[in-house]
Symmetry: C2
Subunit: 246 residues, 2 copies
């Protein structure tokens, strides 16, 4: 089988693209076994080392998995929400940290997306998610909590809110937005006073979800966004001011 590959790229990249297309187009289906490395090297007329580099590229994207042994080989992988989510979080986190995305922009995106979940979460309110939110609120009130732990709990609270929408596609999409914010949030110092304000809004939101009031939950999220943005502005203004003196 002759393969029409895009020139001017590494052979391993061309081969990876070729197989990737076959998977995306459905020519290769889930759990189907690819030809062995030796067969692929014949088919594409390259060495086994080059084929292996191509397969590792695909493995990095969770498109295939490999098994050793007599009946082993490379198999088309069923991408799990979990794996996709993990990749998305890594990518989103790096995207924000490497591209000078302002706190403001990232924060706006995050709360806009969360507001999209709020009505669904309120409509389908399930006890486990509400309990998770309440638990995190309790954690956030602990006096000796570090800023990092407070942020982690904040993320957990919001993930419970998102998961409460009961839509795995939505959860997957938002995981990146919520988690990627954490490094940015970690740059903020949370005073006792600002923590109290955030916790109060969390209570408002949890109450609204439990009451099935999506609009109130959305309003709570908007208030939380305003609060967070203001807090960030204060912290960054103070920091740039003090660093200017040094």
């Amino acid at each position: 089988m002759k393969s029409n590959l895009v020139p001017s790229a590494d052979l391993s990249a061309q081969i990876a693209a070729n197989i990737r297309d076959a998977i995306v187009s459905g020519a290769l289906i889930v759990d189907e076994r690819l030809p062995s490395e030796a067969e692929l090297s014949l088919k594409f007329d390259v060495s086994r080392a080059t084929v292996r580099e191509a397969l590792k590229r695909l493995a990095a994207q969770s498109l295939i998995r490999t098994q050793r042994g007599a009946t082993g080989g490379a198999f088309v992988n069923r991408i799990s929400f979990e794996a996709a989510q993990a990749q998305q979080i890594t990518t989103s986190t790096l995207l924000l940290s490497m591209n000078d995305v302002s706190f403001e922009t990232a924060c706006e995106a995050r709360y806009a997306l969360e507001r999209a979940c709020a009505p669904l979460s309120a409509e389908r309110r399930k006890q486990p998610h509400i309990n998770a939110m309440r638990d995190e609120i309790k954690v956030q009130g602990e006096a000796d909590l570090t800023d990092e732990a407070f942020c982690a709990s904040d993320v957990a609270f919001h993930r419970a809110l998102v998961d409460g929408a009961g839509n795995p596609v939505l959860s997957y999409q938002l995981a990146g937005a919520v988690e990627a914010m954490q490094p940015l949030m970690n740059m903020i110092t949370f005073t006792a006073r600002s923590r109290d304000a955030i916790i109060a809004l969390h209570v408002t939101i949890a109450d609204a979800i439990e009451a099935g009031d999506g609009a109130a939950a959305s309003a709570g999220l908007t208030a939380l966004e305003t609060e967070t943005q203001a807090l960030a502005r204060r912290v960054f203004a103070q920091r740039s001011g003090s660093s200017a003196q040094v």
Copy 2:
């Protein structure tokens, strides 16, 4: 430098994880050059082939790029929104097609996310995006349009809506949700009558955005979701009915 690697995985995967951690943690910064393959093979005490497999894994995630030549090597890559978006679309598309995600669930997620953009798009309404939406509406009205072309135009319309929010993070996050729906939408046969209904709602939404009325735009999206879900139910019911007779 001894490296504490997680055992029970391929060496190339361990090495890739090791370098990935260094990038994510910030120990390696953007555009920094990694040691040469020969140096890495010494550092990790593996062959050059194994190092190369690890580097190809990272390249597949756009974490590094490589350059040939005397001053070449592997460099930490600044992930672009474009590259991240392309990856996200691939992953999201496969996720939906491989995991038996119902049309209903995917559709719900998509419109929930779009509604999150609507208020921002309305607030920041810019002519280019509004023009793009109008153009797509015009395309959608063409009589001899195939279903696939209609879907493609639909996606373009919605991407213009999303981009209109003027938030690159939001655009990046939503690209996956919107584009991944396309294969599912392509399964639908669009009658002239259903096309008219969709186009009318597109006009409503574009008008609302142009008028700066976010609430109306959201309402239009909700109506469009209802319409789309109903259309899909009709198509799938008819299809399963006719196939049951065969």
